[in-house]
């Protein structure tokens, strides 16, 4: 389905640890059309809400609803977090490219911090398609870890790492990356993505990185969300050196972007 903009009601709100909120909205058209890897721009309809929307990957969806899972970091997420059941927000979506299909065989998903939620529905889909899915989850500490319960019934293997060692492996989640031919999808803070990019260099199997950037539009019009392309292709509209995270991404082949 093509892009739409809707005012939708909040039908659920759950805290997932300190400063992390899952917000569920009733949005059947969006839920039916959005694909793993895509995102929405959200506009809380509350007083003093910011001028621009906030990009959010979706976390889970049902027939009628879709949810986002996010950490409160500034004004926009504060407004989103303050919404309660019955409040409305506007959503523009679906936006961005879905995750590219993996090679046949094993898949490894690597999520750090609030990079975890976008991977959940992808794990579910891959599993349905018969892929074996390894999931690596990272966080600063145990109380910041997201998604362990959600992923455990899906993942063939689920490994956890924390920076402070308070849960799972003590160290960066990227130190758990397997020496396999799995197709890798990584989403998380930029230090983590850089480590995956480094690790994937020269590797035969594909690795994909899902990036974040500040966005004004989310659909390719403003050129505000760019990242430097390793090999820009002007014929494909890669204007100069930069590609757009919103429409060319947010997921890129690990070798395609300069982080």
């Amino acid at each position: 389905m093509s892009l739409g903009r809707w005012s939708v009601p909040v039908v659920g709100r759950t805290a997932h640890g300190p400063g992390v909120v899952e917000l569920e909205v009733e949005a059947p058209a969006l839920a039916a059309s959005i694909r793993p890897g895509q995102f929405v721009m959200l506009f809380p309809e509350t007083p003093g809400a910011p001028y621009l929307g906030r990009p959010m990957s979706y976390f889970r969806r049902s027939e009628e609803t879709m949810s986002v899972l996010f950490r409160v970091v500034g004004a926009g997420t504060r407004h989103l977090a303050a919404l309660v059941r019955g409040d409305r927000l506007s959503a523009l979506g679906p936006l961005g490219q879905p995750f590219p299909d993996p090679e046949p065989g094993e898949v490894c998903l690597v999520g750090g911090g609030v990079g975890v939620p976008p991977l959940y529905d992808w794990a579910r889909t891959l599993r349905e398609q018969g892929h074996g899915v390894t999931v690596l989850l990272g966080a600063r500490s145990a109380d910041q870890l997201l998604g362990e319960a959600a992923f455990s019934p899906i993942a063939a293997q689920l490994l956890v790492a924390t920076d402070d060692g308070s849960r799972g492996h003590h160290g960066p989640v990227t130190s758990l990356l397997p020496a396999s031919t799995a197709t890798v999808y990584a989403c998380g803070p930029s230090a983590m993505l850089k480590a995956v990019q480094e690790w994937a260099r020269g590797r035969a199997a594909p690795a994909y990185l899902t990036l974040e950037a500040r966005m004004a539009c989310g659909f390719g019009a403003c050129l505000g969300c760019t990242v430097a392309a390793a090999n820009p292709d002007p014929a494909k509209g890669d204007y100069g050196r930069y590609v757009r995270v919103c429409t060319d991404g947010p997921t890129f082949a690990a070798g395609a972007v300069l982080l």
Partner: protein
């Protein structure tokens, strides 16, 4: 003329609603959403002689009722525009205004010449670029501005629109200089220089430190520029700056603009410009204007152009 028709600097438009340069790309992102021929006109992202890669680092910052951008005029250059975008874009039949940017008079002239030959509807000079020779921004130096406009005038017969910078004491000296040098119309306004500091890193948000402010925050500034020019000089004006609704659009017409452009509002709602087109007839009627022409300049208590028909 029909109810919505208007004319700016010799350019005939079926309705007075354009989309502002840099907020609509070359139309590709919007074509799946609505029929581009519903727009009065399309002002494409600034085109330079060679591709420009734009600014590194963060390019956007949000402010109260506004948006700072430091895109740095990223664009794929003249060749790409002529080979890829223009042939595709012309299919819609909507007048295409080519916004152009350059580092020197020669660059502007080369682009102007090439797009004139290609048959676009009009040229819009973005004069908020620094001249690489002396570092001065064309649009904030009357002599440089007049020289640039005159040079471009010599190589094109197209309607020539000059887009003024609001980072000046006021529009009049620059507007006069542009008109005397051959501009057919003026676009008012480009973005207002500003900056923001990040609430977490406590450093300037933008990679370029400063950026251009757009959106509703600058609407009163834009309205002042439109009003001052339209009530002083005999030149057509395209008004822009925070326009999001038919009500906003009508206000700029009443202040004296012959047409308006929707910019940043498209980022919040990609349908904002076509909604404005759809809602304008009711908005006009609500205040007793038989036509767009009747509304132009009406806030001055005079009707600049003939009533409902012309």
């Amino acid at each position: 003329m029909s109810q919505l028709a208007t004319r700016v600097g010799g350019l005939q438009l079926k309705n007075p609603v354009l989309v502002a340069s840099g907020t609509f790309g070359y139309g590709r992102e919007f074509a799946p959403l609505f029929d581009l021929s519903r727009l009065g006109g399309i002002m494409v992202k600034g085109v330079s002689l060679e591709p420009w890669s734009g600014n590194p680092g963060v390019r956007l910052a949000e402010t109260d009722s506004g948006l700072l951008n430091a895109i740095g005029l990223q664009n794929p250059g003249l060749r790409h525009f002529l080979d890829e975008d223009w042939p595709w874009l012309r299919q819609f039949g909507t007048p295409v205004v080519v916004n152009m940017v350059g580092h020197s008079v020669e660059e502007y002239v080369a682009v102007a010449q090439a797009v004139s030959d290609a048959g676009v509807a009009a040229i819009e000079l973005n004069v908020s670029c620094p001249n690489i020779e002396d570092g001065l921004v064309f649009g904030t130096d009357q002599t440089a501005l007049a020289g640039l406009v005159a040079s471009v005038r010599r190589v094109t017969a197209l309607p020539l629109i000059v887009k003024l910078s609001p980072n000046t004491t006021g529009p009049l000296p620059y507007a006069r200089a542009a008109v005397e040098a051959g501009a057919d119309a003026l676009s008012l306004i480009n973005t207002v220089l500003g900056m923001a500091i990040d609430s977490v890193s406590r450093r300037p948000v933008l990679g370029n430190v400063t950026g251009g402010l757009s959106g509703p925050a600058i609407r009163p500034i834009a309205l002042r520029y439109v009003w001052e020019v339209a009530s002083t000089l005999a030149v057509d004006v395209i008004g822009m700056g925070g326009i999001a609704s038919a009500q906003d659009g009508l206000t700029f017409l009443e202040a004296g603009a012959a047409a308006v452009a929707v910019g940043s509002a498209l980022f919040r709602d990609p349908w904002a410009a076509v909604r404005l087109v759809d809602e304008l007839p009711a908005e006009l009627a609500g205040f007793g204007y038989p036509s767009v022409q009747a509304a132009i300049g009406a806030a001055r208590g005079e009707r600049r152009r003939g009533g409902g028909s012309a």
